[in-house]
Symmetry: C2
Subunit: 142 residues, 2 copies
């Protein structure tokens, strides 16, 4: 995994981090989809799709550090690529990526105190409603 990292400390920073990581993943799954598809070579080792807080995306091996500093995205997305319909595979990656984005946001959220969490829940409510999910945006599920 690359060295792009972040340490958001407020609700607003966490939401900004989430939004930027999500923007990177949406780009991988839409505008850059052919490049993303080609990078996920089933002949390679276990690969993951990372969205970074600078709105970039990366296909890379999982973090070497275990337990990892942050929750890790789904492992081995490349192994499923050639056994599925392309659209179904992208959908699988999008669903796992959405869950990962939420997991990272909640991980940062554990540092917040009760009042800050109360505010956070309203930001995450919007996410929970699917109004911004990568999979939803990609596939028009709403």
């Amino acid at each position: 995994m690359s060295s792009v990292s972040s340490s958001p400390k407020t609700v607003e920073e966490i939401f900004k981090d989430y939004s930027a990581r999500r923007a990177g993943i949406v780009r991988a799954l839409t505008h850059d989809v052919d490049e993303f598809y080609n990078l996920c070579d089933p002949e390679k080792e276990n690969l993951c799709l990372y969205g970074h807080p600078n709105e970039t995306w990366e296909v890379n091996l999982p973090a070497e550090e275990v337990p990892p500093e942050l929750p890790e995205p789904a492992l081995g997305i490349n192994f499923a690529r050639d056994g599925m319909n392309r659209r179904d595979w992208l959908s699988l990656v999008a669903v796992h990526s959405d869950c990962w984005l939420l997991s990272v946001a909640f991980f940062f959220g554990t540092r917040l105190n009760q009042n800050e969490r109360y505010a956070q829940c309203f930001s995450e409510m919007q996410v929970g409603m699917g109004a911004e999910s990568s999979s939803g945006q990609m596939f028009g599920w709403r």
Copy 2:
């Protein structure tokens, strides 16, 4: 990972699944903490803490299937055990477990349609507020 599995299809079933998995994890980190601690031997391979939908917990190797059927919990929690204060290590496991529980709940939630998601966000709002988090319950952070 054991064969305990579930496939919740409604908001209520997802919340029930979440609550049961969480009950297992809370038990591992409280009532069964000595057993849990001993199982997380740093000499063993990468281990994970699973909460199952029957309210049991399990320390086991990660799923062999990649990409996994469900989001996976933090990998290699055992490697951090002896390098940290016991309470800090349990806190780390609790935080990662909370994120994993949410990730699994949202994973199941991707199958819901828009109206169902709208209802779901209110259930998850309660979770997002930390009112039920494993880490909060363990460590009295609120």
